[in-house]
Symmetry: C2
Subunit: 363 residues, 2 copies
């Protein structure tokens, strides 16, 4: 086998090597069942144990209260952009949104098709390089919900756990696709959280949702059955065949995360990893971070040299060294290092060492 | 490693062993990329090659004309039950459906929420044990489409390739979830076909759609973005992150299928496998098939003894012998052997030998 690379992809992204090794080993015969997890009936006892353990670990890791339902769905965050208004925007038909990037914008655009959306603030003026200040006086008092994108994958900003808006009883809805399980958030402050699995939880094709019970069961009449939370709540995510193999990998990752010490321990490591990179960026005379300090993501770290040619050379040379997927998103340019839970400290150290070397050569 | 079992599950179901072996081998490092297919950006060159090869093989195996778009979607056939009316029932708002089982009924129920559904015929009177005769005079001349469930997983019936209804220009829509790629159908007779992957194409979480170009782009205004075919057509199934690993396994299965000689060769083997079981059922004095001869599925074969206690004993004893998932669906009772493409002739021979033994002991 060739060497594995350091994969800084924004998603799908690096997974823990031990998880992949276990999945590989059990591919033809999972725990003496005589079959692969891919071949199992979703109604079988052996798969039931997998989905139940996955749910239990997910609840445990995030500290999710019993009054929430946990759902294993398909369709990615993009499907949630429709499900949320179709299921929740049904009392006053109003919702507040904060525009912190492309994904937030897409969520807003979709919600506008189903009700009255109030965009409270936007950081589009500076390429979404900060989280805008919110004025509580502008919040819609009788909104059905208040939506934020907790971490912005493309721009590298986040609502820090202590800077979540106080919505005064309006259910807070959070897209945590790119930072779920990476640092401690009080999930019970939210009415609903959702996250595509393909950053911190496993392969693409699985979307995790935790929804407070009182928000279930009020969908618009026009809601497609498969986009109605109540259908999935009533069937324990087995209304139809769920993405079984992705759920299995998620279970293995949740186990791995628990063995690492849970989200608290992960947060500590993630802060160390991020600090290593940000500290270097702040002192470098070649590279600079693009995001305001207080709003910096621990997961997605964009940086630039300010010179397109140098950026291009950096991406090319880093790739040759086995540091891959560092090219920035076209809307920000430059580079972006996505350092999710599965990225090791060693990977970040190797990146910073290479950046220093590159800087020395190009100053 | 313990022995692998003969897995007669209706879905998710048995996959070719060689495919699982290859997936296992490449789990940590796909073709020198230094990463698992689960860890790859869906926008990367290496994944692009996977999805393109998968599409090309799928088109090739099914003989799909260039005027069709092939889509890799999420959400299962159940999501198609909504997508089809939301996208297609938009000219006259009328559609014809044939009720041949639970899944057909669910499709009908969902379509009724979005337009005028004419249920032309039903075989519910005899537990869906046959395909009802259709009277062309009853067809809605200006229907937007005509929907059939080509193979009925639970009841074991199918519209044989030469018995597809002649819809006189109305687009025929077919749910081929449980018999796609198992025998030769002229796909170009359909306006749209769809199939969940978890029977003949791979892991659950992937849904294949082939749609004739002229049917794309007329969705109802209320259609969620992710349920609009045009969105996925315009983005070549990469509007958002697709279920990448499932697409990779599907590609490996399509390759395997091509190496077996394609759908023609598969049909030959499937007919031999089915004949072995049906012939035995027709001559047995203990077991009997539940479906009328002309409508028998090659994929799903329900059978009963007529004695619940004996049925129970059979399921228990067969399981102990490594012949698993033979319990019938609760709505038919008895047993069901799902013998998809990946079930070997040896597997069916082993089953029939065991049935003979069981019959000898219990006559």
């Amino acid at each position: 086998m060739n060497q594995r690379v350091y994969n800084f992809s924004a998603g799908p992204s690096a997974l823990p090597e031990s998880v992949l090794m276990e999945a590989s080993k059990d591919m033809l015969n999972y725990k003496g069942s005589g079959m692969s997890v891919m071949e199992m009936s979703h109604r079988s006892k052996v798969f039931e144990e997998i989905i139940q353990e996955a749910e239990s670990l997910f609840r445990d890791l995030l500290g999710i209260h019993d009054r929430y339902k946990v759902l294993f769905l398909q369709g990615g965050a993009s499907t949630q952009f429709s499900m949320i208004p179709m299921n929740l925007m049904t009392k006053t038909g109003k919702a507040d949104y904060v525009d912190t990037g492309s994904w937030a914008s897409k969520a807003i655009k979709e919600a506008k098709r189903y009700g009255n959306v109030n965009v409270l603030a936007s950081s589009k003026d500076k390429t979404y390089s900060y989280i805008p200040e919110l004025d509580p006086a502008s919040f819609t008092k009788d909104a059905d919900y208040f939506h934020i994108t907790v971490n912005n994958t493309i721009y590298g900003t986040r609502f820090a756990p202590d800077l979540l808006p106080d919505t005064n009883g309006v259910p807070l809805v959070g897209d945590m696709s790119s930072n779920i399980l990476s640092e401690v958030y009080d999930i019970n402050k939210f009415g609903l959280i959702y996250a595509g699995a393909q950053k911190n939880m496993g392969p693409s094709g699985l979307t995790m949702v935790a929804i407070r019970e009182d928000l279930v069961g009020q969908a618009m009449d026009l809601t497609p059955t498969m986009l109605n939370y109540k259908i999935h709540v009533d069937a324990d995510s087995l209304y139809n065949t769920p993405p079984c193999y992705s759920i299995y990998i998620a279970m293995l990752i949740f186990r791995w995360l628990k063995n690492q010490g849970g989200v608290e321990a992960m947060e500590k490591t993630n802060k160390e990893k991020a600090a290593l990179l940000y500290n270097y960026l702040d002192e470098s005379s070649l590279f600079k971070a693009t995001v305001e300090e207080k709003d910096r993501s621990l997961m997605n770290i964009p940086f630039v040299t300010g010179n397109d040619e140098l950026d291009g050379a950096f991406v090319k040379e880093s790739t040759a060294k086995g540091l891959v997927n560092l090219k920035g998103h076209r809307s920000v340019g430059g580079m972006r290092a996505s350092i999710y839970n599965a990225m090791t400290m060693e990977g970040v150290e190797t990146l910073v060492a290479f950046m220093k070397e590159f800087e020395a050569k190009n100053k």
